[in-house]
Each structure stands twice: as structure tokens, then as C-alpha cells.
């Protein structure tokens, strides 16, 4: 009887742990996406007419940055206010 209760409780703890892990992973992953986005605007904002890093640095990074640029292009396609989001992200962060 006692051991059944113990199993039950341990089971619950495992479940809670798994949920917590999944949640924190979600949060951190969305933070990563935001940071990646900030990085891409800082580096390649020039393409959107935003102030960004000096061109020489942008050019040097270009060939390693397919993901960053794709992220930027995706955002432009899905929303009209990339800068607004950038600023609000900075505030939250």
C-alpha cells in the first residue's frame, strides 16, 4: 500500500518536472529567437534602411549569415513593424 502511494507521488513529480522542463525550454527558445532577431537587425538592418553596424563588419559577416538574413526576411514578410518589435524586445529583455 505504502509503496503504491510512493510510486504515485514519484510519478506525479516526474510529470510536473517534465512539464516544467518543456515550459522553460519554450521560454528560452523564444528568447533565443528574439536575440537572433536583434542580432540580424543590428547586422543587416542596412537592407531595411535601419542604422546598423558599419558596412565593413556587415560585409565580413555576410557569407556566414544565411540564417540571420532569412530570419530578417521572414519577419519583413509577416509583419510591417520590425523595428517596433525590436524596440519592445529590448525593453522586455
Amino acid at each position: 500500500m505504502l509503496s503504491k502511494i510512493k510510486d504515485y507521488i514519484i510519478g506525479k513529480i516526474h510529470l510536473a518536472d517534465e512539464i516544467a522542463r518543456a515550459k522553460s525550454v519554450d521560454i528560452i527558445e523564444s528568447e533565443i529567437t528574439q536575440l537572433e532577431y536583434i542580432f540580424s537587425v543590428l547586422t543587416f538592418g542596412e537592407f531595411l534602411g535601419y542604422p546598423s553596424v558599419p558596412s565593413q563588419i556587415m560585409f565580413e559577416l555576410l557569407s556566414e549569415s544565411e540564417d540571420s538574413i532569412n530570419l530578417l526576411l521572414d519577419r519583413i514578410n509577416t509583419q510591417n513593424e520590425p523595428l517596433a518589435e525590436l524596440i519592445s524586445t529590448f525593453r522586455i529583455d
Binding site: 527558445e29 533565443i32 543590428l42 542596412e46 565593413q56 563588419i57 560585409f59 555576410l62 544565411e66
Partner: protein
């Protein structure tokens, strides 16, 4: 690198090209010298009465002269990037990014980067020279040239911070998910660290004992005022002027009261036209 590096800066028309030519001819008597113009409105060709290009030309057994082509340098550099992109990023090519590059050729920052690249080429290709002498472009661009490494480093540090934050978070996610932090290498971070090293090397070299910055002025208030500004701006970014050259010096004219704390060299007005190697040599021997 054993070469000593001399820069000649100052207001337009004060005699930067003439003085750097005279000094090069003088030094080449018993040292290996490479004189290079980094000013795209070159006038070394007029002074030596010989046409120059970005291939060094022998003037005497010890003296080579180069006029760098900044515009070509920038084109060459963007061409390399286009190639890298075409090879590594099929997707980017599809987004017409390469077309954008044509517009970006005008982009601010690239001119001084072209300058820095040309400068770096010369240092690499002429490491055997005892003296590398640089006739510099107009003041604004020269200042951007000197500040480029430190300005770039500020940004690079920021970007490195950001990439490190991303990396840390990725490691946390990986630890939660699979119990250990296994993430793939961050290519951008790697590139940023390389760039940091490069710019630090430039910065250290430019601020080292190997470098001598010569400010050329005349006895008129315009060139003196610009000279003062140059000294101040350079100081802000951590450079000091080593020598003031008062060119076209005339004793009967008003004394130059600025720059007392600096080493000064006075160069008189030449009676002969300062054109051609022989004339330069005769005058150089009489003044240095």
C-alpha cells in the same frame, strides 16, 4: 615586420605629397623605401613626372613608388564576397542580395575599409622595406582611416556579447533536453572573433612605436587651424602626432605660435620647381 611607417597628413595643398616624396628620396640614399599614395587624387605621378599604378615601380635601386587604387580594391573585395556568397549561400543569391551589393558599393565605411586593405597589402608585400611612407588622403578620410579599427572593435565586441548570450541559452536548452550541453559551433561567433583579432592587430600596429605621424602645415591660419583639429581628433582616438612639418617656411613671415610642444621641422620654399627625381634629390639633400 621591421619597417618603419610614416604618415603625412594635413590640409589640402600644404605639401603632403611633396614632403613625402622629398623624404623618401632622401631616405632611399641608404635605406630601402616604399612610397605609397593613399590619396585617390594622386599627385606622385606629377611630382616624379612618371606614371604610377598599384604595382610598385622602381625609381632607383632603393626606392619604389605605388599609387593605390582604392576603388579597384573595394570592387575586388566585394567581388570576393559575392563569390563566397554564391558558393555558400544559394538561398541568399535567390533573394537578389547580390544586386543590393551594387548599391552598397557607395555605402559609408567602405572607402576607409578599402584604404585599410590597401594599407595592409602594402605592409605585407613590402615587409623587406626599411621605411614605408604614406601620402595620405584629405583630412576627413584620413581620420576615418585611423579610427576604423577602434570603431569596428566597439561594434564587434557588442556583437560578440550578443552571440555569447545566444550560445549560453542554447546550451541551457540542450542541457534540459538531452542532459548535456551539446550545440553546434556558432559560425558567426567564430568569424567575429577572427575579425576582432584582425582589427586589434591593426590598432596595435597603428599605435605602435613603428608608426610616425607627420602633420604638414604652412604659415597660414587655415592650415594651422586644421592642424589643431587633426591633433585633437587624433588624440581622442588614442593617436599622437609625432612631428609638425612647417612647409614653405619663410622667416620673414609671422612665426607659427601653435604646436610648440611638438618636434618641428621647417622646410623652406624651393627656388627650383620640385618636379623630377633629380630636383627632388638636390633639394632633399639641402634641407634634411
Amino acid at each position: 615586420m621591421k619597417s618603419k611607417i610614416h604618415f603625412y597628413i594635413g590640409k589640402g595643398g600644404v605639401g603632403k605629397s611633396t614632403i613625402s616624396s622629398l623624404y623618401s628620396v632622401y631616405l632611399s640614399d641608404n635605406h630601402k623605401v616604399n612610397l605609397a599614395s593613399l590619396d585617390s587624387a594622386h599627385n606622385l605621378s606629377d611630382i616624379f613626372n612618371i606614371s604610377f599604378s598599384d604595382r610598385p615601380k622602381d625609381i632607383s635601386s632603393n626606392l619604389k613608388v605605388t599609387e593605390v587604387n582604392i576603388e579597384n580594391k573595394i570592387k575586388e573585395y566585394l567581388g570576393e564576397i559575392e563569390n563566397d556568397l554564391a558558393i555558400s549561400n544559394t538561398n541568399l543569391a535567390a533573394f537578389n542580395l547580390l544586386d543590393e551589393l551594387n548599391i552598397i558599393k557607395q555605402s559609408p565605411g567602405l572607402e576607409e575599409y578599402g584604404l585599410l586593405k590597401s594599407f595592409s597589402d602594402i605592409i605585407e608585400n613590402h615587409a623587406e622595406a626599411d621605411h614605408l611612407i604614406f601620402d595620405m588622403p584629405p583630412t576627413a578620410l584620413s581620420m576615418k582611416f585611423f579610427s576604423l579599427p577602434s570603431r569596428s572593435l566597439l561594434w564587434i565586441e557588442k556583437l560578440i556579447d550578443l552571440r555569447n548570450r545566444i550560445k549560453e541559452k542554447k546550451e541551457i536548452v540542450s542541457t534540459i533536453k538531452i542532459g548535456k550541453s551539446e550545440i553546434e559551433q556558432d559560425k558567426i561567433l567564430k568569424k567575429l572573433l577572427e575579425l576582432k583579432k584582425q582589427f586589434q592587430t591593426f590598432n596595435n600596429l597603428l599605435k605602435s612605436e613603428k608608426v610616425e605621424i607627420n602633420l604638414v602645415v604652412n604659415q597660414d591660419s587655415l592650415s594651422i587651424n586644421e592642424g589643431r583639429k587633426i591633433i585633437n581628433e587624433l588624440e581622442i582616438i588614442g593617436f599622437k602626432v609625432d612631428k609638425i612639418i612647417i612647409n614653405k617656411f619663410d622667416e620673414t613671415q609671422q612665426k607659427v605660435s601653435a604646436f610648440e610642444i611638438f618636434d618641428q621641422v621647417k622646410i623652406p620654399i624651393s627656388k627650383e620647381k620640385l618636379i623630377g627625381y633629380e630636383n627632388l634629390k638636390t633639394f632633399a639633400i639641402s634641407i634634411f
